[in-house]
């Protein structure tokens, strides 16, 4: 099974226009695997992105081969809870301000924006930055989906630097962080900054990013957006899932939701009574994202493969924070980017990395 069934060549469509934004939003939500911000959170970003494109013109998208490998690319992303962003709205300029802080004196200026985390809101923030700065976006990111930790990227796995890391928030607080334990420090600052903040990491050589990162994820988001943004009635969930290179795991009613927020990240477990089989349950384990699906004590889908829960009626994706009792959902599995499914990489993102006593189950082998 291929990760991106029909790698979208963006040639001929190298511009992201306001018309593309909604489709893109659906795609990044699917790649969020239930995390990285839901529909409401993404809506805030799409509004800003559309405004920026209308003001500054469409965002040019380049494949990694189309730019000088020695040119510098910068990545941006939100840290914290996307839901808080709805209450404490961004100004839209946080990333641009942060970039000024991380650009070392004397180094050449950055010539492009690259992706950090394609899943959820963070799939759109780099495009917003690109639009504001008038820079092209190079189609590569470090996750190919959403993950909770800022260092859960293939960039970090390859040893590419993340610091200094600039962090800003709408009311003007700024910090430049450098630490070997950047995750903990950044989260501490983020909490003091009010629940969410914008980060910009040290720019990378495009060549390094292309080698270490996951190319083509924006194209993947657009592909998924095209499939899942179409009206629900026109294609069944099963058909859409297969068109996306994945499969429909189960349809069922949420009968138990249990959440706990004692650890670093909130975690929860959900029991879904299957509607397609008698007296049978599916269990969803979630933290920021949906991470494992099990049925009768056997794993069906495991992280880093993607798990999406969709409202069976509307076809809209439901994030982990909003999944509630009584909802009838379709659980859809999509394959992880192949870069993660390698022995040395899996340890960062497999179920054990999230504290589950389970091994990664190769996609589609349940």
């Amino acid at each position: 099974m291929t990760w991106c069934r029909s790698p979208v060549s963006l040639s001929g469509m190298r511009l992201i226009t306001p018309d593309d934004v909604d489709r893109l939003a659906v795609g990044v939500i699917m790649l969020g695997s239930g995390g990285g911000g839901g529909e409401q959170d993404v809506h805030v970003v799409t509004t800003m992105l559309r405004h920026a494109i209308r003001t500054n013109g469409p965002v040019r998208v380049l494949d990694v081969e189309e730019i000088d490998p020695d040119a510098l690319g910068v990545r941006a992303g939100l840290i914290g809870a996307p839901t808080v962003m709805i209450e404490k709205l961004p100004s839209g300029n946080e990333a641009a301000e942060a970039l000024r802080a991380v650009r070392p004196e004397g180094e050449p200026p950055v010539s492009a924006v690259i992706g950090w985390e394609i899943g959820g809101c963070n799939g759109l923030f780099p495009l917003l930055l690109a639009a504001q700065l008038g820079l092209p976006y190079v189609d590569v990111d470090g996750m190919g989906r959403a993950f909770p930790r800022i260092d859960q990227t293939t960039y970090d796995a390859a040893g590419l630097p993340i610091t200094p890391l600039a962090i800003t928030e709408p009311s003007g607080n700024r910090a430049l962080l450098d630490s070997s334990a950047i995750e903990k420090l950044a989260r501490t600052v983020m909490v003091d900054f009010g629940g969410w903040a914008m980060m910009v990491a040290r720019p990378l050589r495009i060549g390094d990013a292309a080698k270490a990162g996951i190319p083509g994820t924006l194209a993947r988001a657009l592909e998924l957006g095209g499939i899942w943004a179409s009206p629900q009635e026109s294609h069944g969930t099963r058909g859409r899932a297969e068109a996306s290179g994945g499969f429909l795991v189960a349809r069922g009613k949420v009968v138990e939701v249990w959440r706990e927020s004692t650890g670093e990240f909130p975690r929860g477990t959900v029991a879904v009574r299957r509607l397609d089989e008698d007296d049978s349950y599916v269990r969803l384990e979630m933290q920021g994202e949906y991470l494992v699906v099990l049925a009768d004590g056997e794993p069906l889908v495991t992280t880093p493969d993607l798990i999406c829960c969709l409202d069976a009626e509307s076809g809209r994706a439901i994030g982990t924070e909003r999944l509630s009792y009584g909802t009838v959902i379709d659980i859809v599995a999509l394959p992880a980017p192949p870069q993660w499914v390698r022995p040395r990489m899996l340890g960062r993102v497999d179920p054990r990395a999230f504290g589950y006593d389970l091994d990664y189950l190769p996609f589609g082998q349940s």
Partner: protein
């Protein structure tokens, strides 16, 4: 299954799992457990082999479900979750329980500070069942040592240590302390050795506390076991046995006390006689402590001095003399001295046959004659109220007894009526007047023939045989007597009057 093997149900009983409950999968509870394993992760569950019981230290829902699935595949007998005494714990949800039920793998939940202790206790129970029984015995005896072992202190100890509901029960099933298990079969208390029987909820284990010289058990210690299999019932029986010895000692002490207060037996009997059909438990307890058996068939005897003498009944030497006299003739029963006589009764398991009356009367006669007493005997009656009834009859019979006689109540009806008749002067006078025409006729032969004829139910041949004459002679004499008296013996009223007159006349002659 071997005798030493334990099932999941047995393990629930041994008390190794504090506050343990079966959450789901009860279908598999009677499977045999061969070993116990502690599993901190799925890998450890996968390493289990058939027959193991797994104690899971984690309790995340997915983990429990995966463990159940692996346990099922490996033929593991049960999965035990340990609920910590402090900290967060998420009990298995309906989805998990439904899954366990479908698999039929028992999912148990216990509470403990350290799962290691649970594992240790269970492993000991599985590998050395005798050792865990010994531990329980130790615990029970140690606790009994600290207090005077009466039912009020022993029963709670059994309840705590064995998790049973215990009761001290008399042979008729009345609980004198604690609660009798509902549905307790009477047959369990009919024997003379420890036994177990199925009751409404689980099993009842009965061990004898105290029995009489014939081996009849008067008092039982009954434990209601709600969970556990054969092995556990055996352990409960063993521990109960020890407790029963302590209770037996208590009974002996109490009885000694009761003996010392002999008078209390009299008042106890009086209370028993007064309470009618429903004997209250406290009275049952006192009766059992006094060594009385309330179940079975009782035959009462009431003995009084030949000449009324109120002092002698209070003479304890005389009571002992009577007791010895009865015992010498094989009459072992309860003897209670009253103000004007002695109540005595014998108890049999079943209803004594009619033929025994004669034998009993004979032996009694010998015994009471030695003590210058006369006695009445009642009919056998069953149960606690039977004591009151038979003694009542005996007392009535004793009132009718002549010199050096033992009278059975059954003989009393006719004799009593006739003695009344004989003692009523008006009737005697009337009788002699009625029979006057026959006085001296044929040397009194006519009157004698008439009396015998009527005694023999007006059967001529029977009367002839008794008198040693031909039956025609009898017929002729009866016709003559009818003529002389001016009555017809065909008439029932006249026949009865003549018959009564004959008896009254004979009583007067005597």
């Amino acid at each position: 299954m071997t005798a030493d093997s334990l099932t999941v149900r047995d393990l629930l009983g041994v008390g190794a799992l504090p506050d343990c409950e079966v959450l789901a999968g009860a279908r598999g509870i009677d499977t045999e457990v061969l070993d116990v394993r502690l599993a901190a992760d799925i890998g450890a569950v996968e390493a289990c082999s058939a027959g193991d019981l797994v104690i899971l230290t984690g309790h995340a829902p997915y983990l429990v479900e995966v463990a159940l699935r692996r346990a099922y595949s490996a033929d593991v007998r049960a999965v035990v979750l340990v609920r910590p005494e402090a900290g967060s714990y998420q009990p298995p949800s309906a989805a998990t329980l439904s899954f366990a039920n479908r698999l039929g793998v028992p999912l148990l939940q216990t509470q403990a500070g350290d799962p290691l202790l649970v594992a240790d206790a269970l492993r000991t129970a599985v590998r050395r069942p005798d050792l865990s029984a010994a531990r329980l015995l130790n615990a029970v005896t140690a606790r009994m040592r600290r207090r005077k072992p009466d039912p009020a202190s022993v029963l709670p100890i059994l309840a705590d240590e064995l998790g049973v509901t215990a009761a001290v029960v008399s042979a008729d099933g009345t609980a004198i302390e604690g609660t009798t298990p509902p549905g307790l079969p009477q047959s369990l208390l009919a024997g003379s050795v420890a036994g177990a029987a199925e009751v409404d909820e689980g099993w009842a284990v009965a061990v004898p506390v105290e029995s009489d010289r014939t081996g009849h058990v008067r008092l039982w210690l009954v434990s209601h076991v709600r969970s556990g299999g054969g092995r556990w019932i055996e352990t409960v029986t063993q521990v109960s046995q020890v407790a029963s010895w302590a209770l037996g000692k208590w009974v002996a002490e109490e009885r000694l006390d009761v003996e010392r207060r002999a008078r209390s037996r009299g008042s106890l009997l009086a209370e028993l006689l007064a309470c009618g059909d429903d004997v209250p438990p406290h009275l049952v307890q006192q009766a059992v402590l006094a060594g009385w058996r309330l179940d079975g068939w009782h035959t009462g005897v009431y003995a009084v001095p030949q000449t009324p003498d109120h002092r002698i009944a209070l003479d304890t030497n005389r009571t002992e003399f009577l007791r010895a006299g009865l015992a010498r003739r094989g009459l072992h029963g309860q003897l209670v001295e009253g103000a004007d006589g002695w109540s005595f009764w014998l108890t049999n398991d079943g209803e004594p046959p009619q033929s025994q009356h004669r034998e009993l009367t004979l032996r009694l006669q010998q015994a009471v004659a030695m003590c210058d007493l006369v006695a009445g005997v009642g009919r056998p009656h069953p149960g606690a109220r039977g004591i009151a009834r038979t003694l009542g009859e005996a007392r009535e019979a004793a009132g009718m007894a002549g010199p050096a006689q033992v009278v059975h109540i059954d003989e009393l009806g006719v004799r009593r009526l006739l003695s009344l008749a004989a003692e009523t002067p008006a009737l005697v006078e009337q009788a002699s007047r009625l029979l006057d025409p026959l006085a001296g006729v044929e040397d009194g032969q006519l009157l004698r023939t008439l009396a015998v004829y009527l005694d023999e139910e007006s059967v001529t041949s029977a009367a002839a045989a008794r008198l040693g004459v031909h039956r025609n002679t009898v017929s002729q004499r009866i016709s003559r007597a009818e003529q002389l008296l001016g009555v017809s013996l065909e008439n029932a009223d006249e026949r009865l009057a003549v018959h009564l007159a004959c008896r009254a006349a004979r009583a007067a002659d005597d």
